[in-house]
Amino acid sequence: MPDSVRSFIGEFVQQQRMKYKISNLQELEAEAIHIIREVAAEFENPVMLYSIGKDSSVMVRLAEKAFAPGKVPFPLMHIDSKWKFKEMIEFRDRYAKEKNWDLIVHYNKKGFEEGIGPFTHGSKVHTDIMKTQALLEGLNKYQFDAAFGGARRDEEKSRAKERIYSFRDKYHRWDPKNQRPELWDIYNAMVHKGESIRVFPISNWTELDIWQYIRLENIPIVPLYFAKRRPVVEIDGNLILVDDDRMPEKYRKQAKMRMVRFRTLGCYPLTGAVESSADTVEKIVEEMMTATHSERTTRVIDFDGEASMEQKKREGYF
C-alpha cells in the first residue's frame, strides 16, 4: 500500500474516531435519560423526589429531556421539613408554576403541629420526624413503587456502593447485604406490592459534572448557592443564616452581615454557609477546585455519629 493511501486512510480513521468521540457528560446524560425512561416504562407509579437542590435541578432537567417533546409522565414530590430556607420554597413554587410541573409537596403534619424543629428538639429528632418520617409518609400515602433520588455515589463513602436501582422492602428498609446484582444497563424492576425501588439516575455524576452541566445547560438554581451579603450567626463553628424568627433570640441578636454562600441546601438551622465571593457558576467551580473542605462538611447532621448516613439509609432516609 503506497504511503499516501496509508496516510489518507489513517487520517480518515482518525476523523471518524473524533466524529464519534463522546464526552464524559454526554455519556452520563445518555445513561441518566435511559434510566429515567426505563423506570417510567416499567413501574406503575413512579415519583421523582425533588429537594430543590442543584442535583435535583439537574435530575429534573434530565427527566424533561427524556420525554421531550412530551411531558414528564410522573409527578415530582418535595418533602418539606418546614425548616427549609425561604428562598428554596420561593424558587420551588416559581419553577413548578413556570414549568407546569406536577408537584406534590408533603410534610409531616403531626410533627409540624407539635412544633418539632432543630432548635427545640435537636437535629437528630428533627431529621428523623420531619425528613425521614415525612418521606416515608409521603411514599406510603401515594403508594409510589419507584422514587427517583438525586444522590451521587461520590458524595459520601457509604453511597459508593449504592446500586442505581436500590431495593427497599415494604418498610422502606435498605439492606446492604441484600441488594440485587446490577449488570450492564439491564435493571431489575420487579417488586411485590408494597416493596419499592429508589432510583439514582445521576449516581455516576461527580460534583464537578453537576456544575459543568448547570453551566452548559443554563439550569436555574436557588440563589443561595451564590455569594451575597447575608445575616449569619456563628453556632458551633458553623455559619447559620437567620432565615426567620424561629431562630432563638440569643442567636439572632449576634447576627452579622457577611458575604456567604451555601454549598448544599437543607434545613436552614442545619446547613452552614461558607464565606465566599463566588457569585457565578464559574467562580463556584474555581472555589471548589481549590477548596479545602468537601461539600458535605457544611451539613451539620453529618456530625451526629460514626457512619451516621448509613444508619439513616437503613431507616429509610435517602
Binding site: 454526554q26 412530551g70 461520590d154 446484582p181 431489575n188 420487579m190 464559574e282 468537601s294
Partner: protein, 636 residues
C-alpha cells in the same frame, strides 16, 4: 489557566470505566487510594477524616492507610475487608475515570461480574512475590467472559522483590501462557509498588529497565472509542413518546451502530419497514446518533411499534430466536431449579425462559469443564435456554449490549443469574428438554395434554348442557340433580348458573336484554374453556331469545364438532308462578322489578331443542342421562 478555560477543556474529556480486582492482600485498595490521592482529587477534609479513622481502625501502622478511603459500610470496616462493589470517581487533565472496585474472594465472584459488566478496562493485581496464582487466573477468566477488551496486569509489591526485572519477566511470561486460551485482545504489564508509589503516577527511578508508561499515564491514553460497535445498528425501543397525534417518538438508547436521518429501517420482530424522519437527541434535533447516546426518533410511516421491539437496518439483521445457548453466571444464594421457569430480561424486553440443558460448568480454578445438573452461587455454566417470546440478539462476543441478559426469580424477584449469549450452534442443533413436535404444539396450542386424552381419562366428552326455560320451570333442580348423579358416576362436571357464577359475574335477572346477552356470552366463554379441558358443564339460565342461544352455541362449538346441547324446560307461566320460590313474578307484576321474562318480556321457546322436558316431568333426570349415554357424551 483561567476557570472558564479549565471548564471548556474539562467538558471535552471522555470517560473510562475500569474494574479493579485482587485479593485483600494484593494491595488493591492501596493502589486505588493512591491513584485517587496522587491525582490530587481528594479534598483536604476527607484526608483529615482519614487520618482520624486511621488512628482508630487502621491496619497500616504509622502511614496513612489508603484502603480506608474506600471502605464505606460499617460492618465491612469492622471486618477490615471490602465485600461489595464500590464505585470511585477521579479525574485527571486528560480523562475522567469511574473505578468499580471489587473484592477478590471466591464467594464474591458475583460482585466482580457486576462491577465488570460496564467496564472498558480491568486492572488485575498480582503480588510480585507470589506470581500468577489461582485467583489471578480466576479473575482473568471472568474478565474474558465479560468481554473486557483491555487488561492491565499490575505486578505489585515490586519493592519487596528488590525491583527485580527477572521476577517481572517471569510473571509476564506465565500470564501470557495462561491467557493464550482466553479471548483478551489487549494486555499490558506494569511493575508497581502501590504502597511506595512506584510507577503508579510517575515513572519510578527504581526500575530503569521498565520502558513503558506509568499506570496512570496508561489509563489516560489507552484508546477505547473503537471498542464501541459502529457497524450493526441495534436500537431497542424503550418508550413511546406521544404528546400529540402528530408526534410518535420511539425513544431508547443506541446499543450499537449509527442511525441517520433518512435511513431505511426495519422493526423486529414485526419486520415492518419505514424511513427515519427525525432524530431528537439530548441536545436537540440531530442528523445522526451513535452508541451510547439516548434519543427519540420518528418515522415516515405510521407504524405501530412498542417497547421491547428493536429497530435495525434491513440489510444487517440480528438473530430472532427463542432457543439459544449462553454462558450463565449464577448470582443468587438459592441454587438453580433447572425445571422452574425464570423471567428473562434482555434489553427492554422481559419474557419467560426455561432451561433445556446444562452442557457443563467451568471450574474457574482449573478452567476444566465439569458435568453438572444445576448451578449454584458463583458457578458459571454453559446452558441452553428456550424463551416464550422471541429474543432479538447478537452473540455477546460481537455485541455486549444485545448479547446480555439477566434471569429473575419468578417469586422472590431477585436477579438470580446473568447470561451472555453464544451462537456457535444454530437453533436447530441445540438440545431441547421436550421434542420438536411438542415445542410446536406449545407454540400453537399450549398444553401438551390433548383434549382427547382428558376425555378418555374422565370417560366423558367436554360438552355444555344448556338448560333454558322460565324462572320457576325447574332448571336448577334438574341441573343440580344431574350434577350430583354424574359426579356419583365419577364424571367431571360443573354447574354454571346465576348462583354459582353470582360472585364474579352479574346476575342474569334484573339485567336489560343487552346486558343480559353480554353476560350470557361471558358464561359461554367460560363454559367453552372448561369443555376444552374435558369438563362437562351444565348451564342453567333463562336465556329467553332464540338468537342469543344460537350465538351461545356458536361460541361453544368447535368448527367440526357439536359441543352444545339445548335442554328446554317447557313449563307454562302458571306452573312457574306456583313454583316461584323468590316471589319474583309478584314483584314484577307490581312493577318492583323489570325485564322479568314471562311478564314484561317474552320467552321464545327453542325450535329444535336436543331435549324437551315437559312441565312437572318426574323422569327428566333419566331422560337426560339416556340421551347422554346414547350420544356417547358419557362412557366408561
Amino acid at each position: 489557566m483561567d476557570i472558564k478555560h479549565f471548564l471548556d477543556k474539562d467538558q471535552e474529556k471522555d470517560l473510562l470505566r475500569l474494574l479493579t480486582a485482587g485479593s485483600v492482600d494484593d494491595g488493591k485498595s492501596t493502589l486505588i487510594g493512591r491513584l485517587l490521592f496522587d491525582s490530587k482529587k481528594l479534598y483536604e477534609d476527607q484526608l483529615a477524616s482519614l487520618e482520624r479513622d486511621s488512628k482508630r481502625e487502621g491496619h497500616a501502622g504509622e502511614e496513612i492507610d489508603y484502603a480506608l478511603l474506600l471502605d464505606g459500610l460499617k460492618a465491612e470496616r469492622e471486618q477490615g475487608i471490602t465485600i461489595d462493589v464500590a464505585y470511585r470517581y477521579f479525574s485527571t487533565n486528560k480523562r475522567k475515570f469511574i473505578i468499580a472496585d471489587t473484592p477478590g474472594h471466591e464467594q464474591y465472584t458475583r460482585n466482580m461480574i457486576t462491577g465488570g459488566s460496564t467496564a472498558n478496562l480491568a486492572i488485575l493485581l498480582a503480588d510480585a512475590r507470589k506470581g500468577i496464582i489461582t485467583q489471578t487466573k480466576r479473575h482473568t477468566f471472568l474478565v474474558s467472559l465479560l468481554g473486557i477488551k483491555h487488561v492491565v496486569l499490575a505486578i505489585n509489591k515490586m519493592d519487596l522483590v528488590d525491583f527485580s526485572q527477572e521476577v517481572f519477566e517471569n510473571i509476564r511470561k506465565d500470564y501470557i501462557d495462561f491467557t493464550t486460551q482466553l479471548d483478551i485482545p489487549d494486555i499490558t504489564f506494569i511493575p508497581v509498588s502501590a504502597l511506595k508509589g512506584d510507577n503508579v503516577v510517575d515513572i519510578s527511578p527504581n526500575m530503569p529497565w521498565y520502558h513503558g508508561k506509568s499506570l496512570l499515564e496508561f489509563l489516560e491514553t489507552v484508546h477505547i472509542a473503537s471498542d464501541r460497535n459502529f457497524e450493526d445498528l441495534r436500537f431497542p425501543v424503550q418508550y413511546v413518546i406521544r404528546p400529540s397525534l402528530d408526534y410518535r417518538g420511539f425513544a431508547g438508547k443506541i446499543a450499537s451502530g449509527i442511525l441517520r436521518k433518512g435511513d431505511e429501517v426495519m422493526t423486529l420482530p414485526s419486520r415492518k419497514t419505514s424511513r427515519v424522519k427525525s432524530i431528537l437527541g439530548a441536545q436537540g434535533e440531530v442528523d445522526e446518533v451513535f452508541p451510547p447516546l439516548s434519543c427519540s426518533i420518528t418515522l415516515e410511516d405510521e407504524i405501530d411499534i412498542s417497547r421491547g421491539e428493536m429497530i435495525v437496518h434491513p440489510n444487517n439483521l440480528p438473530k430472532v430466536e427463542r432457543h439459544f445457548e449462553a454462558m450463565l453466571v449464577w448470582m443468587d444464594e438459592t441454587e438453580m431449579d433447572p425445571y422452574a421457569p425464570y423471567y428473562l430480561k434482555h434489553n427492554t424486553h422481559t419474557t419467560k425462559a426455561r432451561i433445556d440443558q446444562i452442557s457443563y460448568k467451568v471450574n474457574v480454578n482449573s478452567m476444566e469443564k465439569e458435568e453438572c445438573n444445576l448451578l449454584k452461587l458463583n458457578e458459571i455454566g454453559r446452558i441452553t435456554l428456550t424463551t416464550s417470546d422471541v429474543l432479538i440478539f447478537d452473540p455477546y462476543r460481537k455485541n455486549r449490549h444485545t448479547g446480555a441478559f439477566i434471569l429473575i426469580h419468578t417469586i422472590t424477584h431477585n436477579t438470580v443469574a446473568v447470561g451472555m449469549i453464544i451462537d456457535k450452534l444454530g437453533s436447530q442443533e441445540l438440545p431441547y428438554r421436550i421434542s420438536e413436535h411438542e415445542k410446536q404444539h406449545i407454540a400453537n396450542y399450549g398444553s401438551l395434554i390433548r383434549i382427547g386424552e382428558r376425555e378418555k381419562r374422565y370417560g366423558q366428552k367436554g360438552v355444555t348442557l344448556w338448560i333454558t326455560g322460565l324462572h320457576g320451570s325447574g332448571k336448577n333442580q334438574l341441573a343440580y340433580a344431574l350434577e350430583k348423579e354424574l359426579f356419583k358416576m365419577g364424571k367431571n362436571v360443573l354447574v354454571l348458573d346465576g348462583k354459582s357464577m353470582g360472585k364474579g359475574f352479574a346476575r342474569e335477572l334484573d339485567l336489560s336484554p343487552t346486558e343480559r346477552n353480554k353476560y350470557l356470552k361471558q358464561i359461554a366463554r367460560v363454559s367453552r374453556f372448561l369443555n376444552e379441558q374435558g369438563i362437562l358443564t351444565i348451564c342453567s339460565f333463562v336465556s329467553p331469545e332464540e338468537e342469543i342461544r344460537r350465538q351461545l352455541k356458536e361460541i361453544i362449538n368447535e368448527e367440526s364438532e357439536n359441543r352444545f346441547l339445548t335442554i328446554h324446560m317447557n313449563a307454562g307461566l302458571d306452573y312457574c308462578k306456583a313454583h316461584d320460590q323468590y316471589g319474583l313474578y309478584e314483584k314484577a307484576e307490581k312493577g318492583e322489578i323489570f325485564h322479568m321474562v314471562g311478564i314484561d318480556e317474552k320467552f321464545e321457546a327453542p325450535q329444535n331443542p336436543d331435549i324437551r322436558i315437559e312441565e312437572g316431568d318426574e323422569t327428566a333426570l333419566e331422560k337426560v342421562l339416556n340421551i347422554l349415554n346414547e350420544r356417547k357424551i358419557i362412557f366408561d
